[in-house]
């Protein structure tokens, strides 16, 4: 047990070293959510209130929690999928023949993905504040951290599940285009879900990120479509389900 904790810490440490050494990845992963936030925010202006957005809440305030959700979606899925890089570069074998349990490997990676994801999310949050979002209360901020952890863990599990079933990187762009982007657009991150026709709305309700973004909105700007308890329960359930699935598939994967 102690050994496993130590292994989790070691895997986390490796993820940190890699993350801070890969400067291009650090900037690359933060750039696209930042541009979404800055240009959409400036384009629509913080003063204007769009239809569907509660009165008194500017677009930048509405958008920032959504873009935080986007940041977490992308960075967490990548963290899960990074098993593929290790597979490609052979390092997965080094990890898999060590006496460390598979669950510790999964938890170490999750811890690494969580740290980097939340770090990026906080940078986006600060950018949002610079662009005009009101500074959240301490309770609001702490509550938002809870939702961030749940969102990140959910999608690390999803990435891990895919990475365990994929032989190489060839399916990567498929996942990007047919999974990550739809999850993003169908989460209500950019505009209220009311704008969708009802068929599409059903899809949005099936998307765990929808509840994550909604929970973040409640925490940071005090406005949400669902009750935060509903957000928490549904997101928490999908978090447990997807991380378990990812861990199970990773456990049964063979390394060649």
């Amino acid at each position: 047990m102690i050994k496993d904790l130590y292994a989790i810490y070691s895997i986390w440490l490796r993820e940190m070293l890699r993350f801070f050494r890969l400067k291009s990845r650090l900037f690359g992963s933060i750039a696209s959510p930042f541009f979404f936030l800055a240009f959409l925010g400036m384009g629509f202006g913080n003063g204007a209130s769009l239809p569907g957005i509660p009165p008194g809440i500017g677009y930048v305030s509405f958008l920032t929690p959504g873009i935080i959700g986007m940041t977490l979606l992308f960075s967490a899925t990548f963290a899960g999928l990074s098993v593929l890089w290790d597979r490609e570069f052979g390092f997965l074998k080094e990890i898999m023949v060590s006496p460390v349990s598979r669950i510790a490997i999964v938890l170490g990676r999750t811890a690494g993905g969580l740290t980097t994801g939340i770090l990026q999310a906080i940078i986006i949050m600060l950018s949002g504040i610079l662009l005009g979002m009101k500074v959240p209360s301490l309770q609001g901020f702490l509550l938002s951290l809870v939702f961030m952890v749940l969102i990140a863990t959910t999608f690390i599990g999803l990435g891990l599940a895919f990475a365990s079933k994929m032989e190489d990187m060839s399916g990567f762009s498929l996942i990007m285009n047919f999974l990550i982007f739809p999850l993003f657009f169908l989460s209500g991150a950019l505009f209220p879900l009311d704008r969708f026709p009802s068929v599409v709305k059903v899809l949005a309700y099936l998307n765990p990120l929808t509840y994550g973004v909604d929970g973040l909105r409640y925490s940071l700007i005090g406005a949400s479509a669902f009750s935060p308890a509903v957000d928490f329960v549904i997101l928490g359930a999908s978090c447990i389900a997807l991380l378990s699935l990812g861990a199970y598939l990773f456990d049964t994967t063979e390394v060649n």
Binding site: Y6, R14, L17, R21, F89, E94, V97
Partner: protein
Amino acid sequence: MNDITDEVKPTEVIKDAAISMRGLTKKFGEMIAVNQIDLDIKKGELFGLLGANGAGKSTIIKMLTTMITPTSGEARVWGYNVEKERKEVRSSIGVVFQDPAVDGMLTGRENLDFHGRMYGMDASSRKARIAEVLDLVDLTEKADVRMQDYSGGMKRRLEIARGLMHYPHVLFLDEPTIGLDAQTRRYIWQYIRNMNKDLGITIILTTHYMEEADFLCDRVAIMDNGKIVALDTPENLKDLIGSETITLETVEGKDALMQILPSFPWIKSINASNGTIELQVDHAQSRIPEIMLEANRNSAVITSVSLHKPTLEDVFLKYTGRKIRDLPGSGSSMANMMFRRRG
């Protein structure tokens, strides 16, 4: 026990062997990669699995290192079952993979440190051991360079050091010198030999280089199509081929020479064609002067003499019916090279 098919096979695994396999089989779909292997490797042995690519060597290694599960049969490593006691097996072994398995973003020292952590070593024993193994492979000076800047040979040396990091009982080396230049190969051979002789570590290596198996191994198993076709010391295997061959090229006096040569009792057989004569002889080096003297006495003019000693290549040819070089996919294939550049 030159030919294992003549041997009476023991039916149960031997628990105090370093490695023991009984009926070990791996199928990938319809393809049988490893077929009913029975093999025991003694503690302290430097054992070689020799064969072409696709013969099943790496598949055996993958089963023994718990990376894939056998389809049937049983294998024990250091007394532990590779399917039921994976964690114990993993703690007992070190593995150097065929393709590089390092994190290029980390330095050599950090890769070793990560490894030590994964095997539960504490900070002070890691520090001391890292210094030791780095010294063993002469990489102390490069320890703080990121591994993406290492050459192929340096990467391999660091991986060997890493394999030793946690004091394994058994070290697996899968094609340890593939893709390396001749000089680096010699160095690596030296390291491997030292580890076995000085540190007493049991080593199992796979290779498709005959001279590597010959130079390093206490015993060699020749594999073909998932089976072991020959198993013995390199010397005994070569003795199976028999005598050495002296080839003489003559311009004149060949007939006179052919009259005289059969009178030497130590010549086992003579084969003449055109201007060349082939003699099967034991201890051929010491017989050449006698032959030359006799040729001179009979005014025969010999323009060249060559000596061929049996090699493992000849043994391989005898047992598989083909040369290892002729096989498709043998050597470092293009795909292999491309993988090697990254990481």
